[in-house]
Symmetry: C2
Subunit: 156 residues, 2 copies
């Protein structure tokens, strides 16, 4: 990520202001944290990571900012069944980093996978088209998760 010095990616300023929001330090850092990891962070995870660079951050602001980022569409919010929401940077279905999840019901491990996505994307496109027409439903997003046991959890 070339744009250091705490400025965050420049085009994001526009994204925020365009929606009538201000690009503030807490928001930048929170976004930086989410941009800098492939993990699926909880609000408190984010809070702790941000705290390093910006000790005065409040957990409330983290929650508010995450909600905002989800609303703007910059991040995704997930429920993997462990009682807290988890977030990751949004990568549209065109991006080569777009992925779906395997969720281990044994240990809670989350595995990102991008394999087989091509076919999935194609089917998804077709399905979304059909559903949009039949139910007059404007689809903006999809969620696909597989549940099961990871290698570790299978062997006892």
């Amino acid at each position: 990520m070339p744009w250091r010095d705490g400025a965050g990616a420049p085009w994001l300023h526009g994204k925020f202001k365009g929606c009538g929001y201000r690009m503030t330090m807490p928001r930048q850092i929170i976004l930086d944290v989410l941009s800098g990891t492939a993990d699926h962070l909880s609000a408190e995870d984010v809070y702790h990571k941000v705290h390093n660079a910006y000790p005065s951050i409040g957990l409330t602001t983290v929650y508010r900012t995450l909600e905002l980022l989800v609303h703007i569409g910059l991040i995704y919010k997930f429920d993997f069944g462990d009682g807290r929401s988890r977030y990751e940077l949004a990568e549209g279905s065109k991006s080569d980093r777009h992925h779906h999840h395997l969720v281990c019901t044994g240990c809670g491990r989350i595995i990102d996978y991008t394999d087989f996505i091509d076919e999935e994307i194609e089917l998804l496109k077709k399905t979304e088209k059909g559903l949009s027409e039949k139910y007059n439903f404007k689809i903006t997003n999809h969620l696909i998760q597989f549940y099961g046991l990871c290698d570790r959890c299978q062997n006892k």
Copy 2:
């Protein structure tokens, strides 16, 4: 549902006892409630419905039973983003009542759809096979949801 008189489907007794659990009145009624609706009930929804036939029911028991039913695999637990878990009778991917969901982010409406499932199922099967092998992950279930705006919510 032919087996009334509060007995519940007979084969369920076996299902319960086979797992070392007892088929009690609260459990039967809770299962009956979920069998008798296509809605996506919250724990409290279930509690209220059960209360008619069994006024002494406790909310705690509802939570415990729902958890048990999910564990046994008789019902599914969903998070549609409204802050409470919702449940529905499990219909395996073979069943003709198996379906996926459209979730309206505007009003929270949930639409069941079975259309286009055939192709989805086929792809899912292939995908699951591939993922199982590559990640050595034993897949037992999947979740597919589409988010967007329902007809009502689109027109302002």
